[in-house]
Amino acid sequence: MKTKNLLALEGNQAIALAMRQINPDVVAAYPITPQTEIVQVFSEYVANGEVNTEFVTVESEHSALSACVGASAAGARVMTATSSQGLALMWEVLYIASGARLPIVMTVVNRALSSPINIHCDHSDAMGARDSGWIQFWSETVQEAYDNLIQAIRIAEKVHLPVMVNMDGFITSHAEEVIEPLSDEDVRSFVGEYKPTRMLLDVSNPYTIGPLALQDSYFEFKRSQAEAYKQVIPVVREVAEDFAKISGRKYELYEVYNLEDAEIGLVVLNSAAGTAKDVVDTLRTQGKKVGVIKPRLFRPLPVEELKKELSHLEVIGVMDRADTYGGFGGPLFGDIRSILYDSPNHPVILDYIYGLGGRDVTLEHIHKVFEGLESVKSSCKVENLVNYIGIRE
């Protein structure tokens, strides 16, 4: 039995630590609040010769991801990190990375999008990249973000797709938490050596990447890409098994909390899940049958698995830290309703948009959400399907 190595680290420091332990061949990144510290701490590892990484200090996020695309196609293990406007600026290249099947791994420290400008947490940035073909993991705590990032390397390289690991800006990125990091040796042997199937740097086997594909072939490219996501869930599970062996921490596609016998359930991503679980604890002592589900893998969406977990519920509240402006509720709401559309007992599903621009979500807010869901359950009446909480109206 190894003695526990515990460290008090902020989210960003833990991500930088994971990156040092992974020791990628190339990092190209541009600083942006609240991700900046990842870039700064990693720069120190580079300056002290603790990594083999070529750190490309680009002039923008667009170039950050472009350099990652070049480096990954060249045959390197490649990582980056960003937030908010940075991710928005990368948008064009996100699709190029996934379309070219490049296993780039990126931390996204979630932050609101302008305008008005705001540096604090919401999920508009990553939700805007929802359909870009990147695998998306979401992390409630510093420990989860650290663990997800290490697993992301293995997953990306196995399925030839880029992976985005999300954690909440400031709430997680700047919060100090006691975590149990793995040893350098364990991380090194867990991620292994990257062996690309083809690489530009193999000059004796030249190949063309990023050609012009027109009406006669583009659709087949995209159709085969769509097929690739089917292999992701088994790989995520397999990597989680291996990870549990070295860490003692077993990850599922999502975390369920008191959900099995619940009648009312809440679906929530990232740090607010902690608050929700706390409220569930209180309500359970009052005999209320409530529970929480926190998706970890959001893209690809584990449709069948989520359906199985959620279809027994009578009322479901979906917590969305992003809006769709002119659409029908938040992005998570749309997915959950769609998943359960053909479930036989038709749970009532309501959306709660919360915490935009870093607005705190408190225990009281979550209590109110559960109260609302309970009254829907007893009255069978829904006033508003889409609700905004914690806001001055």
């Binding site: 002039e59 667009h62 490649v78 190029i96 530009l200």
Partner: protein, 309 residues
């Protein structure tokens, strides 16, 4: 090593024939000359544009080198990443070959939408060579003006009308701009003077840092010229001092070729349909202004070169 055309002619082309570029296009001549000049293996990054779309129509490719296209404005950042991967893997002993890294972009991908990415790559001084095939407009989308389009030229977004007579603004001086970004070697070259071009490319891939070469790329479709005249027109650009051959190595300016007799700019402009309207009497002043600008720029270039003699 002097450039020997016989030896070059025996080398295998790295851009094969059968691509779909127009007859008389300057860009394929540029690519072939540039790649013939480099003896070591080359990895190419290509900005979106005529060259990229016409050479890689899936499932075909004209490229015999490893080749990557990502987007329009990021060829410089993309090749930066390829070069960073090379440095890292070489440092780790996973790669032993000596490889050259070359990006090709048109003037749209270089002067305009890709200028920030190019500036970043030049300032970081990656060991890369960026070649601009400069056809002086957005030809791939149908001849729209760019910041490389010269004063007076007709394009589809600077049409000749009752009030306006082609492009009002002057051509951006990209070579001087890039020289100021921190690049190690910067030059201007022409397909008509292939020895000079090949020597420049060889120098560019041998220096320890970033290089940039702007090469005039006559476009019969957009310039309204005869497809057989491409090289002759490039030659007239050099002989009129519209397109002087010069280089800036570690900040030192040098003129590589001085025409025996500097020809009037009209000799370069006359065969090009994009300038036809300038020969109307009411537009004579534009021609005069163009000549004055060419003279002033040539004079300035000579002064800069004198500083380092």
């Amino acid at each position: 090593m002097p450039v020997n055309i016989k030896e070059l002619s025996r080398k295998e082309d790295r851009l094969s024939s059968g691509h779909r570029l127009c007859g008389g296009c300057g860009s394929s001549i540029i690519v072939r000359q540039v790649l013939l000049a480099i003896d070591k293996p080359v990895i190419v990054a290509n900005a979106t544009g005529c060259l990229e779309v016409a050479t890689t129509i899936y499932p075909y490719t004209a490229w015999k080198t490893p080749w990557i296209h990502s987007a329009f404005e990021n060829a410089a950042a993309t090749i930066s990443g390829v070069e960073a991967a090379y440095k890292s893997l070489k440092k780790q002993g996973k790669i032993t070959e000596d490889i050259a890294f070359v990006a090709f972009g048109g003037d749209g991908g270089t002067y305009d939408i890709g200028f920030q990415s190019l500036s970043g790559a030049m300032e970081r001084n990656h060991k890369i060579l960026y070649i601009c095939y400069d056809n002086e407009a957005y030809m791939n989308t149908g001849i729209q003006r760019s910041s490389a389009t010269p004063r007076g030229a007709w394009t589809t977004t600077t049409p000749v009308g009752k009030v306006l007579h082609g492009k009002i603004e002057k051509k951006k001086d990209i070579v001087a701009s890039i020289a100021e970004q921190g690049a190690t070697y910067v030059a201007q070259a022409s397909i008509s003077n292939f020895r000079d071009l090949i020597e420049k490319v060889r120098k560019a891939v041998s220096v320890d840092g970033a290089s940039f070469i702007d090469i005039l790329s006559p476009c019969p479709r957009g310039w309204r010229t005869d497809t057989s005249e491409t090289v002759n027109i490039a030659k007239l650009a050099v002989e009129t001092c519209y397109w002087p051959l010069y280089e800036i190595e570690n900040g030192k300016w040098k003129i590589n070729y001085v025409p025996r007799e500097k020809k009037p700019i009209t000799e370069y402009i006359k065969p090009q349909g994009r300038f036809t309207h300038l020969f109307r009497t009411e537009n004579a002043y534009i021609l005069e202004e163009i000549q004055q600008e060419v003279d002033a720029k040539w004079e300035l270039l000579q002064r800069k070169a004198q500083l380092f003699q």
